[in-house]
Symmetry: D4
Subunit: 255 residues, 8 copies
């Protein structure tokens, strides 16, 4: 309920078209969102064409199917992350979503129901090693279902610097770079020093011993000596892509 609607309601009360009791109920029972907060969600939805994302981990298969169905019914695209093959099989068994797709590496289920807007700018996803690819695939799938133009470059870790330098031009022409690395996570710093666009760093749990399941890469990325780097949680390709998509969507044209 925005200001205009409130004016209208009060005028209706004044005119007698709406009873006081009915108006009280309408105003009092409004979710707070109606007076401001929920506009966020609608705003986001209108702009991004995306209602909500299903984080499947720890959810029962039945619940995932149910939530998937509810979200799909809005007619928007649907994204489910950290989904098991079993969950996708259950969705397939319903026979209701023939267009649903499963990406096994990144473990996402997607259902494309809308023609997204023409992609603007490019998000570049790069990984230090091949073992980081599952996280990269989660990022790529997320960005795509959010209507983004995304490009993936794998295995350009800093131990073989020339392979990364080979891609500098591509990196420099991106609107956002998502840098994905495990072990010592140095990729974020090196890329951060090479580009002028925002770099979103994703530490991965790739490594062993003192990599501590990605903590070392996370700490390294938080301490990056390059200035344009921000960080998301370990293995969180989805969050990086979501952030990148917000940013990319807000940029009409890069100078």
């Amino acid at each position: 309920m925005n200001k205009e609607q409130l004016v209208k309601l009060l005028e209706d009360v004044k005119k007698g078209g709406v009873e006081v009791d009915a108006a009280v109920k309408q105003i009092a029972s409004l979710p707070f969102a109606d007076i401001g907060f929920a506009r966020v969600d609608k705003h986001r939805h209108i702009r991004c064409g995306f209602p909500e994302v299903i984080f499947c981990q720890g959810k029962a298969v039945d619940h995932v199917v149910e939530i998937f169905r509810e979200l799909a019914s809005t007619g928007h695209n649907v994204l489910a992350t950290r989904a098991s093959e079993e969950m996708f099989a259950a969705i397939e068994r319903t026979g209701e979503f023939p267009a649903a797709r499963y990406e096994p590496l990144g473990r996402t289920i997607t259902l494309k129901q809308q023609t997204e807007s023409e992609p603007l700018g490019r998000i570049t996803v790069i990984t230090a090693g091949t073992a980081d690819i599952p996280v990269a695939m989660e990022a790529v799938t997320t960005a795509e279902i959010l209507g983004q133009n995304v490009e993936l470059i794998c295995d350009v870790g800093v131990a073989g610097l020339h392979r990364l330098l080979d891609k500098v031009e591509l990196l420099q022409s991106s609107n956002v770079v998502i840098a994905i690395a495990g072990m010592e996570g140095a990729l974020a710093s090196v890329v951060g020093g090479l580009v002028s666009c925002p770099v979103i760093a994703v530490p991965t749990s790739v490594g062993y011993g003192t990599s501590f399941g990605g903590v070392t890469a996370l700490l390294a990325m938080l301490n990056s000596c390059s200035s344009g780097v921000s960080v998301v949680n370990i293995d969180n390709g989805f969050s990086a892509a979501y952030n990148a998509s917000i940013i990319n969507s807000m940029i009409e044209e890069k100078n």
Copy 2:
């Protein structure tokens, strides 16, 4: 040296206008940046009007003065972070930089030498408490010297939710929100759920006991249940503002 310049040089060699020895020297002595990497720096400079930032912590006062002088000589704006009053006094004593300013809360030295471009969009900096203000001031000063339009809102921690909700409209009309909080760092999640623009979260070392100098807030922010949140290092107002400025500069107009 870009492709065109290289073609030109080689044609000059062919025509005899440039000697082989001179050309060899020119090509061989080129910083690698000239063949790609340093373009980043120039590009950044041209676009942002900003050469480099002096991180003063752990530097000798003399070195800070020297670096400050060198950077100032380029005619660009100068920013020095984590600067002590003693450092600023030394810069003042030189008598060379009458326009230099010290911001004691955020501990920054700035020297404005250029009329920055007309600000586009707005970066909103919010803090959970009053003790977070020093970090906020570092962010504000950084964003301003980078030519941004920035607004600061203090003390809107989630314990008094209505104070935050009062500012929802302002938050929702921002291009980037920088959310600064210590203790349990819940502000980032709550704000992330209220806006559709990117939220850059800055954990602060405010708190005691198990706040562990900001680690608790950092972890909370990395685990935010809201999707559009990325994180920088503890107390790193500069990095948050730098990231926000890159993003804001890349957006011409918000939809």
Copy 3:
């Protein structure tokens, strides 16, 4: 043995009705509980109608059955937490406890043998997400077997603040709120700022990466900027409900 009993005993000795040897033995062999400590347990039992709780984790199935039988023989209600389905099956196989029930999400076995006192006040259990429900069910079952009036609200995490705000009235009319959340655990702080009753926060191991099995939520809750929040161990729905039940039982009527 209280003071009166001691006076009586000594008078018996004086009168010769009790031999010195017998009196010595009686005084010396008294469990300390008889002189004070064990009264606690009886006191607790009389007031709460509850003898002891079986923490099944790490116990052999046989031992669980045996302890269950012993406790059931007192005629009081019985609660076993962290119980496996196998343990419940073993209890069922005895055929002795047809009224025993298993709650598979919270993994509790309960045996109701007493009509509990009329519930006073209400304990409200709320969770940030659906993955926190198992911990919530342990809390709900515990509170119920302890004779409490308990209400469960799920999935009101702070990322969608309006859903939580919708329940403010319910929260404000509770005697105790148990706030259950994983990830960044911000729910406790937000709820703590909305109610005037005690909030018992339960961090859960829900999350990934730097959630560190619930440590992040725990730290966030310990650092809550809201004043009325105390915390129990990770995933410890039982302890939260036990604490809440003690408090709720001690309140006759809320002002």
Copy 4:
């Protein structure tokens, strides 16, 4: 603005006594608290006679004085925690608050301006050692300014168990026990096993080596084998007392 006031306003609009524009402004400009959240604060205030607490740590002396003055002007009692002697001296210098008192061990400033309600029940604060007394004093002063009946017992650590056992009767007749201990924090578990009322455990930073500034005591208390124990942040005597006061105020009479 409650339901009755809203009905009244709308009826006034209907009757023409209030213009639509004025009513719109009144409804739209209401802090959300007026429609629900701020009632918490008022409710708390009415019940506890207490508006807000000043956490002085990290605040400028001037700010503390200013906030103190503002809170004192409401006529309610005032509590400032983690206050330095310098802060109290500044408050004294104003000459405005002759009744203000400084408690140097717990570092609190209090200003009693109201006759609190007759105390109900008792909060007992116990410490393991003498070095825990500063934290205990913060708790005691907080409880007292919140109008509670509080008793302090010091130095009853478990190494000399008989000293603790001597106080069992006193502990058992309390409405809430605040157990304060550093080092291994065993006091909370032992007390938790002796009483039937809620125990709020406060780990302190007392100790050395692997006490890790209170983390060991905190962990021990979170893992208490006794059931009725909840925990607050390290050295947070204020929070323990605040929680205890809420609970004690909600209990009219102990059975």
Copy 5:
């Protein structure tokens, strides 16, 4: 080779009874132990009747059998800790050690081949809960095969203090107490305050959440406020019993 033997050897050389070459070889080829270090082992063996212990964890089954055979061949008692049932089955299959026994809770294999010396004094092993019994059984079996007089008391955790107090006399008449506890590990402090003999504390990995696999109990025990407590590694019942056995063997009679 001690001083006397060296004098003897050199005199033999002088007398010509031993050739220079032979003497050189004898002196040069001596294991350093022969000049001092290895005496330790022999000394230990003579005094304790025990050569070496097989730590089975991480060893191949074949290797365990082989080492077992070699140690058994010395005629001494044999102890293998952290042994799997599979390892014991392999030892049984050899048919060589009909007297070998497997203790499944503590996971030890023992082979008694010697009549140990008459036990002196008593080692008392106590546990906080029933889940600590496996660690206790490792301690008991170790102490017994080392010829000690050992008594086990289970489930005397501090939450039910009277059960522990009931055993005070038994504890006070011990030469060494081994206190085994997980969770908050408070047992060690409480026992340490009740007895005058050395207390060896064994933290166990019993617990969940912030018990961190025994780290909490370990830290609590290291910070014990009682003076006579030393600590061994988590779940290390063997080490505690080994230490206790050394001490007990060195005490002829308790005063």
Copy 6:
């Protein structure tokens, strides 16, 4: 009050020599220690000639003086650890304890008022480096005031193994060895492999970087591959000496 005294009292009651009221008062007012627990203290005192130790850290100077005076009045020896020079000066200023001594390295105050029993056996204290000497001095002074025969060997770290091996005979003839080391704490393992008596390991905060204030040495000592090693808290020379003294006192003669 022991059994004999209780029998006597009751017989006096029976004979009429003691009134019932007086007897009740005498029995009821006994500290629980008199019925069991405090016997420990007396027992300890009789055997060790030592009442209690003052841990000065965090105590006010006045309190230390007062406790010192009270303990000295018992006529026993007095030990105060972690004492500042200021504390000793205050004790000296009283003029009451001319025999009090301050050991500045280990920061102990001692007052010898009793001729201790003839020393039995020997406690050997060894340190890895010279920086560990303060901790060693705390241990030495503690052992001496407890009437022990103690010998100190410094700077025998494992980097120069021959210096340690030189002392093997001395180590092997000890009843207890206290091994004190910072950095990697390897000394405990090496010594543990050389002697047959108990080794009490004291990690020290000596080191830098990843020594983490003694945590590295602590962990190393807890994981010692030698069997007869137990560990106390970081820098806790007192506790090691107290443990060693208990053990040494219980051994009449070493075999």
Copy 7:
């Protein structure tokens, strides 16, 4: 492309032998390695006879086979570490690499295709226990395929110091010593004090409780009181051997 080649190219341009376009392409398209970085790889290859190592952990079996084939096609030796038996089986199934070998303890696949240079000097690999052997085997196999002369000594932990001292001469005649140990990792310090060559320490995840998967050994090794010790990641036998091989290859003859 080195300076001479660049001069030559430019002279060809000048002479007209090479077109400007072709020269531009050649210079511009050069991988940076051609102008400097990649020479490293070739240099390394020529000197060590080794192109690249396959880290198999986390890679798909198919990918491992494919990379193996590609590397084998260069004619150089091939090394794959952390390889499963399944991976080796897949390589065998291709029938292309009859000379490939699997070492099951260290989990390496090797393919020897070149006669390595005559070994210079010796790398000695020593382990504290038998459980460290898998890490040692990874080191040994790595060093061998890199053409080194390597010797393995097992089970010389410091608890039985004489066994280590027995090998001093062998250690002292090595060019590099790789010291492998879990638990408290003291071996590195002791060996570091015995030899004058570099010691590369490898902490292993052998141990339990507070060994924390090798962290304790790692910390101990980083804090070694011996000077010539450097450290690699936990269980990283490969890295230690690679470092040792570089060093050994650079030494022609030991003085």
Copy 8:
């Protein structure tokens, strides 16, 4: 005493030239080093011209002077690390060591008394930032006093990659590279990918927030994706230089 000397001594005994008593004393009193271990030290000394290094931190000024004098008396070069200006002043005050020098950044005292051997090869020390220079100076001074040829390159952090790439040739012609970096420590990985010689990485405590005093850089370096990297303790420039010097001394000529 080596084998030949032992044969000689025994032959002298046989011939009567040496008395048995004297021979016994000579053999028995030999430090174990004389029979093997101490040869290491002599060997090291002969080869490196260096007896021992004084680690001053935590040592008394007097002790430092005394040890300095003793070491200087051998005629060798002397190195004292972590020395305060006060310590150097005390050494100067003795007037005995006019050639002693203090390097204030790296805090070393050196006394050159020997003409070192002609330097072979080169050790290159590089730092990521200017704040790492103190650690670098400790390394440089150490290497120089050990007679090495060392070159220092500062401020080549990976954020400005071209500055590092500019030095590739210099790095590639080194025998050993010492890479010093704080913050995220990425320098070690990048350099490790550019050179074929061993890289010794030194994490520094430079940084703030989650740099955790150098732990982040340490972890990053231990997880380096480049193969030829080993690591020393945080800020330990001395250890890196000592390791590098051993290696460089063992290499006669680089291929």
